[in-house]
């Protein structure tokens, strides 16, 4: 397989007296979907925020294309080709959908002094991209704060996908999505992967992970439990690992293993 685009080496992250990450290594290759799994509070979001320049690692080094890099801000990471959908979505509730969609990367028209935000173009693209994901927006002018949870999540995903990147990071992108939207997102992941983009996909849903994942890394309490390739691991093994290796709650059986 090819060289990895992004390699995180032995990352640690401390918040005051809390050790959120305690030496995690991870890499993404072009054209693969690498799933990051783990229990609640395992440190997945913290890890990908380190990857995308939100946090500076307390220890450890990030390499892109083999070269050590340091991201001062998410803007730096974006410039380097890392797009990210955060779990909290990073949207401004008071701003319109279109303005949120293009936030930080506004399309312009005109030249010099007349270079201006091309709002019609932005509105149009927003509507189109949202429709591709299965959401019919009433208007691109609607404030994000008035969208439903799933509509909001879709905006964040559509945005990251639209702007393309070498690495696409998705933190629980499907958590609030309906059936149709979920299948659209998984299909989209499949599509961008085929274009040679490396995808990092976080999910608590084993089926979603197995549907698109090429490799699976499980985090537990700030440390890696190991990485497995597709086919090396069964759904049940994965599920056990994701639950942190602790025994599942006793009622699971009575619910028919349907989770």
């Amino acid at each position: 397989m090819s060289e990895s685009i992004l390699h995180m080496d032995n990352i640690e992250k401390h918040f005051g007296n809390v050790i959120a990450l305690n030496g995690v290594s991870f890499d993404v290759k072009p054209g693969e979907c690498h799933c990051l799994l783990g229990d609640n509070g395992a440190g997945k979001s913290t890890f990908i925020k380190t990857m995308s320049g939100v946090y500076r690692p307390s220890q450890g080094q990030i390499y892109m294309g083999g070269k050590p890099v340091q991201f001062g801000s998410p803007r730096d990471a974006m410039a380097a080709g890392i797009a990210c959908v955060y779990q909290d979505l990073a949207m401004i509730p008071l701003m319109s959908v279109a303005r949120n969609f293009f936030m930080g990367r506004e399309p312009t028209k005109g030249k010099f002094l007349w270079k201006r935000f091309d709002t019609e173009h932005a509105d149009e693209i927003t509507m189109t991209e949202m429709k591709k994901m299965g959401i019919n927006l009433r208007s691109a002018d609607q404030a994000v704060g008035t969208l439903s949870g799933g509509e909001r999540q879709t905006v964040a995903i559509a945005r990251a996908v639209y702007f393309g990147a070498k690495v696409l990071i998705l933190d629980e992108p499907t958590s609030a999505l309906g059936v149709r939207q979920t299948s659209n997102v998984l299909a989209t992941i499949d599509k961008v992967r085929e274009q040679g983009v490396g995808v990092v996909f976080i999910s608590h849903n084993v089926r979603h992970a197995l549907a698109v994942g090429d490799r699976f890394t499980v985090l537990n309490r700030g440390q890696t439990l190991g990485t497995a390739a597709r086919g090396e691991i069964t759904s049940d093994e994965l599920q056990d690992l994701m639950a942190g290796g602790q025994e599942l709650a006793q009622l699971e059986g009575s619910l028919g293993g349907t989770i």
Partner: protein
Amino acid sequence: MSLENDSTVDERLKEESRVARLMKRPELGAVAGALLVAIFFMFTADGSMFTLSGIINILSPAAQLGILAIAAALLMIGGEFDLSIGSMVAFAGLVFGFCVVNFDLPLILAIPITLIFCAGVGAVNGQIVLRTGLPSFIVTLAFLFILRGLSLVGLKAATGGSTQLRGVRDAVEGDPLAPFFSGDAFQGFFQWAASMGWIDTFRSGLPKVPGIPVEIIWFIVLAGVATYVLLKTPAGNWIFAAGGDKTAASNSGVPVRKVKIALFMLTASCAALLAITQVLDAGSTDARRGFMKEFEAIIAAVIGGCLLTGGYGSAIGAFFGSIIFGMVVIGLTYTNIDQDWFQVFLGSMLLLAVIFNNAIRKRVTGER
């Protein structure tokens, strides 16, 4: 996937009138407030208030306030305050007066020096806010005191003991740049209109209004540019984003720090611009210039619909907010109301104007 077949009208949208759509814009609520106040004075004030000269007389202080208020509104939308702009007016006046009177610099040098100097102070403000993570309220408050104090010390040094620096008018006599920053514009036109008998004149035949005070021109231009920037440029989007949610904006790649620093520099420059026009008009500057103007600017911005918490507001709103404030402050002298009641009326009118503007907007947009 084909899109056309989906783009039918959404059945879940009620019809919305044009008026309703317009009134949803934050800027247009303030227009209703301004109208209410104007109508109030139509009934209570002396007729001379609504003559040409009366209107200019109201617009002139409103414009001076507005130059600050528009900048303050931009900064507030961007999520920060600048309490030092009032003191900055005095400080910039000192710097400018010093350049012009003590160093005999021509305006072409004195004005850029003043603007750059003040923008620099604004940048320092911004840097401290961003570096320390302290609220801008407290940082710029410190500069409120510091700049006010420095103006006093500087004035005394420049004049040898007085708190007033004078002689600016003599110093800039004949400077080609002066008409852009002081006096009245379109004087020829007004003279001509007077001679045609279209506008009021004094007994001497001179027009009562010799022209439009330049600060009004600046005010309108500034409102236009600020509105354009806010609504039609990427920078405007960044301002809204930075004020709406700093973390989310920065996570989405908005250069939040740069935006905020630029806004701090803008407010400081606008304060300097105001100081320059005031000093050139008055011919002097003193240590109390701009006293409390920072609050009036914030008041005007809030009347115009800006949220104190950032992320929402408009320059046009601040424009009309300044006009409301100016109209109320000056307008009461045109009425027969006992001036002891001035503050009671000022407060009540502000409250009424804002409640009215709010009620109108809610009714039109059908919010609960």
